[in-house]
């Protein structure tokens, strides 16, 4: 509001000053006289008044706080206030502000002798520094270290300095699988057509290696890669994979699980970001999509009471792939 009033005051004041001015000492004009335009002034006043009205409307809508479409009305009134204000400025700029185009050639340098003097002063000022070389080296050193300070954080972009961190996960042998509320998951809970998200007990859910998808695969469909003993990697047909897609690191939250398999697609874990599709029956192999490597699988153990526990760490590094991910 303040600016509105000041803009108004400025405009009114201008008119008044003009009325008083002629009594002052006659001086030659600098700005050439241009016609006044009462109609334009009237339009500006009207537009400013409308802007004020719209702004007041905004305040009223805000204070009343009980209108059905309050958000929309707030937006509308504020937009109108700005629109009227800009229209007022537009008319002012076009019709009321004197416009004149002036162009002059560049002047000749006036004080060429003094310019030489300045160069001399600069040359002689440098004489105070005796250890120029050292100072230059120090300045270069400061510049270089500052540059390095800006570049070093780029190390966080990839596993250059600490490649092991990306190969570790919080899963250890014997760690219990719990659901998002912290309740242990038992093998009996894992039904054939369900998708279960599990976390290591007592570890932050935020860690990249924490979340798992747990599903049950029918015995005859199970076809794990060589070296993965079904008793250790798929006890009772239950398999667990990292929930983090190996492509871009989204959560693999889609489970395509046919109610009646002969007439629909085979079961698959699907990432909603780019539709990487993984086969839970074959150790998380890629069926489709941009992922370049299988989902990391977690070996499992089943307690006597049916509680699921990790049987070790993942089959491969968790998370989006990076250069050199396959190197041991």
């Amino acid at each position: 509001m303040k600016w509105l009033w000041s803009a108004l005051a400025l405009l009114l004041g201008r008119g008044r000053r003009e009325a008083v001015a002629p009594s002052a000492v006659e001086r030659p004009r600098i700005v050439p006289r241009q016609e006044s335009s009462p109609r334009a002034e009237l339009a500006v006043l009207a537009l400013l008044a409308l802007a004020s009205l719209a702004a007041i409307g905004f305040i009223v809508v805000y204070v009343v706080d009980r209108l059905p479409a309050q958000t929309q009305l707030l937006g509308l009134t504020l937009a109108l206030a700005f629109a009227f204000l800009s229209a007022a400025l537009l008319v002012t700029a076009r019709r009321l502000v004197p416009v004149e185009e002036i162009s002059e050639p560049y002047p000749e340098p006036e004080h060429s002798a003094e310019a030489d003097e300045v160069v001399q002063i600069l040359d002689e000022s440098g004489e105070r520094m005796t250890r120029r070389g050292l100072l230059k080296v120090a300045a270069a050193g400061a510049g270089a270290t500052l540059g390095a300070a800006l570049i070093v954080p780029a190390a966080s972009l990839g596993p250059v300095a600490y490649p092991d961190a990306l190969r570790r996960s919080p899963w250890r042998r014997g760690l219990r699988l719990v659901d998002s509320k912290g309740r242990p998951i038992r093998s009996g809970d894992v039904e054939g057509k369900g998708l279960y998200t599990a976390f290591p007990q007592g570890v932050s859910h935020e860690e990249l290696g924490s979340p798992l998808v747990v599903v049950r695969v029918e015995g005859q469909r199970l076809d794990l890669p060589e070296g993965r003993d079904p008793d250790l990697w798929a006890p009772e047909g239950i398999v667990a994979y990292s929930k983090i897609c190996t492509h871009a690191g989204c959560a693999v939250s889609l489970y395509r699980t046919p109610l009646y398999e002969p007439t629909s697609k085979s079961p698959a874990l699907v990432c909603p970001c780019h539709y990487s599709t993984f086969d839970p029956a074959t150790g998380g192999g890629v069926l489709f999509g941009p992922a370049g490597r299988p989902l990391p699988q977690l070996p499992l153990e089943v307690d006597d009471d049916g509680t699921l526990r990790a049987g070790g760490d993942f089959s491969e590094p968790v998370g989006p792939s990076w250069w050199g991910v396959r190197r041991g």
Binding site: T71, L90, D179, G194, Y196, A251, L254, T257, S264, Y275
Partner: protein
Amino acid sequence: MRTFGLLLALVLVLVAPAAAGAADGTSRGRGLFFSGCAECHGADLTGVQADPSRRGADGKVPAGPPLLGVGELAADFYLRTGYMPLDDPEEQPRRSKPSYSERDLRALVRFVASFGGPRTPQVDLARGRTSAGLKLFVENCAGCHQVVGAGGYLTGAEAVPLDQATARQIAQAVRIGPYVMPRFSERQISDRELDSLVRYVLYTQDPRDSGGWSLEHLGPVSEGIVAWLVAGAALLLVARAIGERIR
């Protein structure tokens, strides 16, 4: 004697199924099942394996899962959503107008349910909380159906939009897992949580769009882009109009 034999046969044909069905009131449903469902689900509800030699005139091979023990839950869901009967067993079932009248539909459901199986969970919307439903939906459903319930795609299948689902159908789908949707047990989503979940899905069907222009609920990123494009273009035009030189 021959006439009597024919009459006896006729009486037996007419009475025997009626008597068998009359006991549990499923004769009407049985008839409807044999004429409409048995080709794919089997006359004894044990399902039909796809057999290319049984290819029909339309080139489609009848096949379908067993329906023993699916109960009122699945029968009611599939018939009321119009998912069944399905023209081509290989196709994803789509929502359509139910093929049966209310009376026939009830009879069919009663017949399928007479073989046992789960019932539709009771939904009590008054006990649910929309905010809790949102949380459950984000955790379990939004991956496929999107947080606004607009549906989405999987590889080779479609996650259906939820804009026409009724409270009963939402609850049923959670417990059945139709087509390629996972099934959610009571341990994953309890019946009380289901109240909240259904409440949230119903909310997405008629959400309060406080911004005004929902852009088909594409999401905040797309909305932001549109806002910037529209507002940015308008600002450019205004700035140009104000700053333009007068000749």
